[in-house]
């Protein structure tokens, strides 16, 4: 019960308020003026929304590929029992402990065209800025997903590998025939977290590119921030926020559906 109350008070109520605000016009002063569906119409007609949605999808996909591949391999490697792996894993986990803002500021300095390490026009070019955001996000979150995969890989019963070894399966064969299928629910969990995370990805964009060059990295959360805290159009910002909630909920549901609701079931069924 307390959990439900907390969730209602700190998540459901603010969400409901934002949804209400999306049907009003409000600049932060005085009272909101009801404007019906104006903000939602604007959302549908806004060329920037289309670009922003596309960028958000692209960022999510690119981040997923980049993070999943690396985190899965590292996680499986770190699941080994050798002592040095534990130490290395611990060190490797450090980036996740830093704040996103600090990480973004660090990379902003490293990418400075005059004083940084890479003296190229990276953040000022569309593809460079986009890749920088994918990379910085990956650098921060791969450790976390590695941890999830490490946990998943450790759950795989040793007997499966022993049996495979007797049948003459090599390391690669074992990885593709045992480890990967056994990790499928871990992949689902990690993917849902990544997708929802990408939809709320904000500080890095704000600090590294401010949505630029032009509007080429203005993903949905940044667009929402700009509408709310730069243009002071809280009605429109709330419409974008509500839209984000819908997208995130929809995506999570689709992901869970596609992968079956078996996430709760043991992967060891039938053993």
């Amino acid at each position: 019960m307390p959990g439900v109350l907390f969730f209602a008070f700190f998540a459901v109520v603010p969400m409901g308020l934002a949804f209400y605000l999306s049907f009003t016009s409000w600049d932060g002063l005085g009272d909101p003026t009801p404007v019906g569906l104006d903000n939602w119409r604007k959302l549908i007609d806004d060329d920037r929304m289309v670009q922003s949605l596309w960028l958000t999808v692209l960022l999510t996909a690119a981040s997923w590929v980049f993070q999943t591949v690396i985190a899965l391999l590292l996680g499986v490697w770190a699941a080994g029992r050798q002592r040095n792996r534990a130490v290395l894993s611990a060190i490797f986990f450090v980036p996740f402990l830093l704040s996103s803002t600090a990480i973004a500021l660090l990379f902003y300095a490293l990418l400075d065209p005059n004083f940084g390490i890479i003296r190229e026009n990276i953040l000022g070019s569309s593809s460079g800025a986009f890749l920088a955001i994918v990379f910085v996000g990956g650098w921060q979150f791969i450790p976390f997903h590695t941890l999830i995969y490490q946990g998943g890989a450790r759950q795989i019963p040793e007997v499966l590998y022993q049996a495979a070894a007797i049948d003459g399966a090599g390391r690669y064969r074992q990885f593709f025939s045992i480890t990967l299928p056994q990790l499928r629910h871990t992949v689902t969990t990690s993917t849902v977290l990544m997708v929802v995370g990408s939809l709320t990805y904000f500080e890095t964009v704000l600090i590294l590119t401010k949505g630029g060059p032009g509007t080429d990295t203005a993903i949905l959360p940044y667009l929402m921030y700009e509408a709310g805290f730069k243009s002071y159009d809280f009605g429109y910002a709330s419409a974008i926020a509500s839209f984000l909630v819908l997208v995130a909920t929809g995506l999570s549901l689709i992901l869970v559906r596609l992968t079956g609701f078996g996430g709760m079931r043991s992967t060891r069924e039938g053993m």
Partner: protein, 454 residues
Amino acid sequence: MESNNGRSNDGQPTGGGLSSRTFSRRWVLGAGATTLLATGLTACGSDDGPGGSGGTIDAFVYGDDAVKVQQAAVERFNKSAAGKSAKGKVKLVRIPGADYTSKLRTAMGSPSAPDVFFNWGGGSIKAYQEAKQLVDLTDTIEGDPVLKSGFLPSVLAAGELGGRNYGIPMRGMQPVILFYNKSVFAEHKLQPPTTWDQLQDINAKLKKAKITPFALGGADTWTELMWLEYLVDRIGGPEVFAKIQEGDASAWGDPAVLKAAETVKELIDDGAFGSKFSSVSYVNGGAPAVFAKGKAAMHLMGSWEYSTQLGKFPSFAKNNLGWCAFPTVEGGTGDIRNVVGNPTNYWSVNTRASNKDAAIAFLKDCASETYAKALVANGDIPTTSNAAKLLDASPNPEFAKFQYGMVEKAPSFTLSWDQALGADIATPMLTEINKLFVGKSSPSQFVSALKELK
């Protein structure tokens, strides 16, 4: 105005620059955030008592290094006869630069709004005026000789909304100036340009010598905005933007705007800003360093560039920093004496202030010689009409007198566009300007996009 984000001269904005620029662009780079005194909005106590006398006056101020001048004024006022007779004490609430405009907006929408607050005049206070939160100070100024004749007229006018005054100037002037590196100019036998042809000639010579003509911190869009502000003025005169400022979006269709955008594109294609300008930042010291180290020969920037350089590269600031007006454009109607930038910052009074008399008495102190002297000692140029005689005491009298003369003689002083327009228009405008500079939109697409801004 993150544009505001960076200039308390805004910017973060806005000069704001905030944010985004938005605002004060008077960053002494590297000097980290100013000490925050209790920023939270907890520290407010405007009780809504109708016209009650007595009580504390909360004054929100942009918290950069110049705040010490206001702090001294507050201490003086609280001890003064004027303060005692108005039965009010002023309490200064410093808000760190980048957060200023959004913090102010949040506070003004809440029951604990400040009684007096710092702003950039014009569009930066339009929403508050429309929400009837600002005391109209026009009659107060008219009826008080000290206020009426105490400030340069162009400065008072620049902060007006619909011909009425809602603010009293309280900081130094921040015109945008063309700075140049004297040693680079001397080495290549160049003279500061007064016409566009001369400027192009200089650019050609500099490029032969492998020097970037202009430093530009294009990662902060408000630096790019300055180029358009001056080009539109020099090509079509101040009337072009004046129409836009009055709410006529079709005025973006004036040929001067297109010509200015085309000129910007020529400069970029010509390499006038180098190839990496879109990832160079002003706020983190990138563009000033490129300029100070001689990699770029000129820098179009607000007058705070001098303090920035003095903080980062003192010997460059003292020996090699030159300054001049933005050149005229052949065939254009704009006077070379016209200025763009931030005339100053203003104090405005909230209509819900518990003690308006005390608030206005406090504002009057900004016209005093004591206050102006404190600004001068801090390296700022007061906008009071008698400031000229105080400038010998400035850390750099030569630069101070140049700036003062520039503003005093200016036929027109156009407020930075992102401050002059409301945030709802300024934000998308800055985005379009950035798209023009990074080649995402052509000059004609730029103009069409601006005409859509309403």
